[in-house]
Amino acid sequence: MAEEALKVSDLKGEFRKKVRELLPKGNLDLCLTCGTCSGGCPATGLEGMDPRKFVRMVMLGLDEEVTTTPWVWMCSMCQRCIYACPMSVDIPQMVGLARQAWPRETRPKGILGSCDMALRHDTCSAMGTSEEDFEFVVEDVLAEVREEQPGWENLEAPINKKGAMYFLNQNSREPVTEPEEMVPLWKILHLVGADWTYGTKGWAAENYCMFLQDWEAWEHIVRVKAKAVDDLECKYWLNTE
């Protein structure tokens, strides 16, 4: 490989420096260039890129290429490469840092929009659903089931029930676009007698600010959610997945 001839230490990569600061114990330098990561990565070949190549480019200080390639948005940050890598090189973290190098307004509009939406209400809904709208949908769907489905007159979908064991979160897609999909889960929880609740604040499961790599917004969202669960004194923050 031609790049091996270059003396890596002589290159001045700002991005490489940042990776070294933020990644644990010389992680980047451990790469053996074995290619195991690329062999099992579904993003290999997109934009002429693959994870091994990406690591090499970071290593060589090719800042311009690394921080502008749209490939960083085509890696799903799934961590399969770390799992497979003999040296556990944290490629998705480098990808995250490269995403962050994009000026915020140039990052993919859809992810940006979903993050900004989630900052509008304490629901953290990426679809911009407010506390009132969520409560309305849940109560509306519940009333319909109680009325129309014999045997479910006592079905419950508690909201803001203090001291419940489980604080259930919900992907916004359900209350917004397919509310009847919430019902099977309510029925299951009812049958087992689970002590659960939704919270008008922090109920939305998604978090696009992390994908956007807007750390300030990501932290804000996690704080709002954590506070919502603690305010209701719930023991578990329960995911539908």
Partner: protein
Amino acid sequence: MFAVRAGLQKFNIEHNFEIESIIRLYARWIREDKLKVNSDWNKDLQVKFTVQDPCQLVRKSFGDPVAEDLRYVVKKVVGEENFVDMHPNRSNNYCCGGGGGYLQSGYTEARHQYGKVKLNQILATKADYCIAPCHNCHSQIHDLSEHFEADYHTVHLWTLIALSLGILAENEREYLGDDLKEVNMPGY
């Protein structure tokens, strides 16, 4: 879930709760006989199912034990002989391409290309249904079947649990194919 778990750690956020996955609870409730699922409805039908191990849940959060819980639940619900695993699987599973903001990124062509790996994995099982217990996976795997005109269906796990229990109403069967639209309907 990963965003919160990782965020709590990264930003050192104090909290008094633990993070739990409903998949682990389903498995526990079935073991404790609180959730009385069975696969009788599929005894004669023999509809085949495979399951997606969501990266966020398995590789990035609870590891192989939760993948075992997931299989335990699925087998109880659809019948052991009607479950076909993908390969590779569990912590070594391929991402479907729905994560990381991909679905919202606008890079649709790349996302479909990425998803081909998952598509081929699903097709190799010859399953009629792919159970996707994560929202992004569900959207992506469903979209892959439409884009590539594959004829598997994509379902949530709660749909099948409720189906098995005989409590899945007609309007809760959106993601089921015609073969299951009327199976085990609530008796009223």
